[in-house]
């Protein structure tokens, strides 16, 4: 397979010392690709960590700094938002289990460095969905799904409520009761995920002392599995490379503890998520050089959904290695759009019985063309 290079972007994330040698044309390309992939702030944070930012020419540097400023501000306001959510949910007696970007931020994980996070995602037990929704409505969050079709679609088939927006702050919360849609082929147990969730001590918030262990995040292996599921089962490929960077960062961070590697594959099997884990490990390693213990790679291959015929794997490689590139003219070839589309359709097969497939896709297409 001969693909246009994204070496610059990957290089910037992994080996930033080479950035000091780029010429103007290379900077031009890198800033465009990084902006498109939503990774400029990430590059800025990697440069700052290597004390390189000052050595970058002023013109490209100001774009890195601008993105870093925005990411920092978003992170700061996510803390506030989480606190407001915790306040709103206090009457339900439920903890606030954060997912994705907000979780990385409050847990102060390296994955949160230079990562944009605008919405807050939380996971709640399905039987408490109604209580959570009304508690949020009491405090000013309003459902974004306006049409009856959208409401019904979400409530019948999806693993989350329609997004809710705060009427005054304009901030959005996604309330999940599962990490895959109800209609999906696999049903990872939300009870198991919630039972293993861990409280986080949030320095930014704890000065108020009133949260009292109510802010939680998924256990490390579950966090990784959710990130993998989001990217490889849900068809969320718009920011594919950024999501793969999340996975890479989580693996490198949690991977310093042996215990993490020991539980990872068994947990994936238990939650029926060994297929997305297999892909996450494969493509993080292929594209970002994520170090993996050989035994874990073997275990993932031997897990259900891991071993795949060579020809099939080559086909999936050709899809994912294209689709995970940022959607940018300089990183795409003629097949990229097709690969994204095929993976989008694939994700719909995985999360919905085929009989549902046509109406929803058709409706989406109609909405877009209007």
């Amino acid at each position: 397979m001969n693909l246009p290079a994204i070496d610059l972007l990957v290089d910037a994330l992994l080996a930033p010392t080479r950035l000091t040698q780029l010429d103007a044309a290379q900077w031009d390309l890198l800033i465009r690709q990084g902006r498109n992939a939503d990774l400029l702030a990430r590059i800025a944070s990697v440069c700052t960590a290597h004390a390189l930012l000052e050595q970058i020419p002023a013109r490209p540097r100001r774009h890195l700094e601008a993105a870093a400023k925005l990411a920092l501000r978003q992170r700061r306001e996510v803390y506030w938002e989480v606190e407001q959510i915790a306040d709103a949910l206090a009457p339900t007696g439920l903890p606030v289990v954060l997912l994705k970007g907000a979780a990385y931020a409050v847990a102060e994980l390296p994955a949160a460095e230079g990562r944009m996070v605008s919405d807050v995602d939380i996971l709640v037990p399905r039987q408490h969905l109604v209580a959570v929704e009304s508690a949020l409505m009491m405090k000013g969050w309003v459902s974004e799904a306006k049409s009856a079709y959208d409401q019904r679609y979400y409530r019948t088939w999806m693993h989350e409520l329609p997004p809710m927006r705060h009427f005054r702050r304009g901030t959005v919360i996604d309330v999940h009761h599962a990490i895959l849609p109800l209609s999906a082929r696999w049903h990872p147990s939300s009870e198991k995920l919630l039972a293993a969730a861990l409280p986080v001590a949030v320095n930014e918030l704890d000065e108020l002392d009133k949260l009292d262990g109510r802010i939680m995040v998924l256990a490390p292996e579950d966090m990784l599995l959710h990130s993998a599921t989001h990217l490889f089962q849900e068809g969320e490929l718009a920011h594919g490379l950024r999501d793969l960077v999340d996975i890479d960062s989580l693996l490198r961070h949690f991977g310093t503890a042996d215990a993490f590697w020991q539980v990872l594959v068994p947990r994936a099997v238990e939650l029926e998520l060994s297929r997305p884990l297999f892909y996450a490990l494969r493509y993080a390693n292929l594209m970002l050089g994520t170090p993996l213990p050989e035994s874990v790679v073997q275990a993932a291959v031997n897990a259900p959904g891991g071993r795949q015929p060579g020809a099939f794997l080559a086909f999936m490689d050709s899809l994912f290695l294209r689709a995970l590139r940022p959607a940018h003219a300089t990183t795409s070839d003629r097949l990229t759009a097709l690969a994204r589309w095929q993976l989008y359709v694939r994700s719909h097969w995985l999360r919905m019985p085929p009989s549902l497939l046509i109406p929803h896709l058709a409706r989406k297409a109609l909405t877009i063309s209007r």
Partner: protein, 99 residues
């Protein structure tokens, strides 16, 4: 107008002092809340009160009125301050401490 004693002794605290930035002009003040990015415009009196909270985090209506109006504040003065404190609370600027 009589003031019940509990109101004059209500204790108030500004726990998020580090989040706030205040700029005062003779015609009024502006307050920035770093935690959520919100801006408020305050009257000169409210701006002055906020400045006191940023300087010393804990006050009662009575101690605050003393500081603002002089040694022996009138009941009306304390009532004014108590009302202002309640509206500060509604803006998430300060919190009431349990008695």
């Amino acid at each position: 107008m009589s003031l019940n004693t509990s109101r004059r002794d209500e204790r108030w605290v500004c726990r998020r002092r580090a989040d706030f930035a205040l700029r005062n002009w003779p015609d009024g003040s502006v307050l920035f809340d770093e935690a959520n990015g919100q801006l408020q415009r305050l009257t000169p009196a409210a701006g002055g009160m906020m400045a006191l909270f940023l300087d010393t985090p804990e006050w009662t209506s009575c101690t605050l009125a003393q500081r603002i109006f002089g040694e022996i504040p009138a009941a009306e003065d304390i009532e004014l301050v108590a009302n202002a404190l309640a509206s500060f609370q509604s803006l998430s600027l300060i919190e009431r401490l349990p008695d």
